[in-house]
Subunit: 231 residues, 2 copies
DNA sequence: CAGTGGTCTAGACCACCGA
DNA sequence: CGGTGGTCTAGACCACTGG
């Protein structure tokens, strides 16, 4: 049981979405509608509306007559999202370089510094770090007039968001991420669009490299089984 | 009033979606929930579920306390989708070229020929032409293992789908589209990945060039007013 | 069989809009 | 004021699952 603010649906939606994206609800975990009805003290209608929404976004799998489950991560999907991001973001960053003003450079520098400060803290808030990481990338999308693309990519990235979260909380290799951001910054600072593609590629593929071995061991329960391996 | 098959929701959803995408329901047109209740003889619950779904996909705008409307097209969004597609599809097509077998070449040739045949028909079915156009592009996505990306792009393309439909039904410049497909085919056939980028760019921007002038005249009611023009 | 989700009805109350 | 959507309850019946 929890307290029930007005507009239950919206609250419940945010609540569950946050728990899923921050991996508080584990991929694969089962969640029953009736349980949720009790937990939030509401009837099935708002719960179902939330579940439909989450399942529409790919965060939840509703299996008829069996149950509802937090969606597993699909490694292939994640690879493809990264492929797409590399293509799009390289183009955007190349567009951004000639548009980058000293003020924007300072903004980027500022984000990097905040991440460095955050990293030093004990009881480090990983969500906050993730947030800053997003902000960094957001700068060039918005500056180059691709605001809508950034939002679209964010929405399509549901799996990838949890993957990045996993990268951050499980690997905790924050210095590597910051280092890559610095390299990107250097490129922008020196106005060298030719160097964009390989660096973006390296940066966006970073999570895969860092997590690769563990996906098949400790973290395997979070991922969809590869089709045709065993059985 | 219409006949009411089982599983009203799904039927109603398909029905409305088709009518919107094929421009039978005009962008901007108002649609009331209660009207739909009568038309399909169901209560508000299934209607609302359908409306939510459509609005979630960006096909519908639900304006609280005023009404529901078929979403207007947003020219800027369409440009950005095209920008993204150019980046992604160029990469995919470059990957595809070395993977293209003679069998696949025949498949592409076959699609082009079908389009040419279709074009000669009187009472030409534009939806069918659109369908073939999609199939052509789909080939390289699927072959290069980017099946999921293709579906993702299709889903993100709701506005763009109607834009392409507009291009096909309003401009009817089918020879231009076919000609571009032939050029792309030639590139593939000769295994010339360097030529991909500009050609993809030309092809995907084609619709904009063809429609450009009319967007501000006959078709202006279908588009969101540019912010800050008049008023 | 009990439990799950799938679907729907009927009806309620609210907030806001425009005439 | 009547019409619109926003939200929710309560409860019904169904189809399928799994012990």
């Amino acid at each position: 049981m929890e307290n029930i603010p007005v507009n239950s649906s919206e609250y419940i939606y945010r609540c569950l979405k946050e728990e899923i994206l921050h991996l508080k609800l584990k991929p694969g975990q089962s969640i029953s509608e009736n349980e949720l009805c009790k937990r939030f003290s509401v009837s099935r209608t708002p719960i179902r509306s939330v579940m439909q929404r989450l399942s529409g976004e790919g965060l939840m799998n509703i299996v008829p007559y069996k149950g509802s489950f937090v969606a597993l991560l699909n490694f292939n999907d994640i690879e493809q999202i990264i492929y797409m991001r590399i293509a799009v973001e390289s183009a955007v960053l190349r567009d951004f370089i000639p548009l980058c003003t000293p003020l924007l450079e300072e903004k980027l520098r500022y984000i990097i510094r905040k991440q460095m400060v955050l990293m030093e803290e004990k009881d480090l808030d990983m969500s906050r770090f993730y947030e800053l990481d997003s902000q960094f990338h957001e700068v060039w999308f918005k500056t180059a007039g691709h605001n809508m693309l950034w939002e679209l990519i964010q929405k399509s990235e549901v799996d990838y968001t949890r993957f990045r979260m996993l990268d951050i909380v499980a690997v905790q290799n924050l210095p590597a991420i910051i280092e890559e951001h610095k390299e990107l910054f250097q490129l922008i600072h020196e106005r060298r669009p030719e160097g964009v593609q390989p660096l973006i590629e390296k940066h966006l593929n970073g999570g895969i490299h860092r997590l690769q071995t563990r996906i098949h061991t400790e973290l395997r329960d979070y991922f969809q089984p590869e089709s045709g391996t065993d059985e």
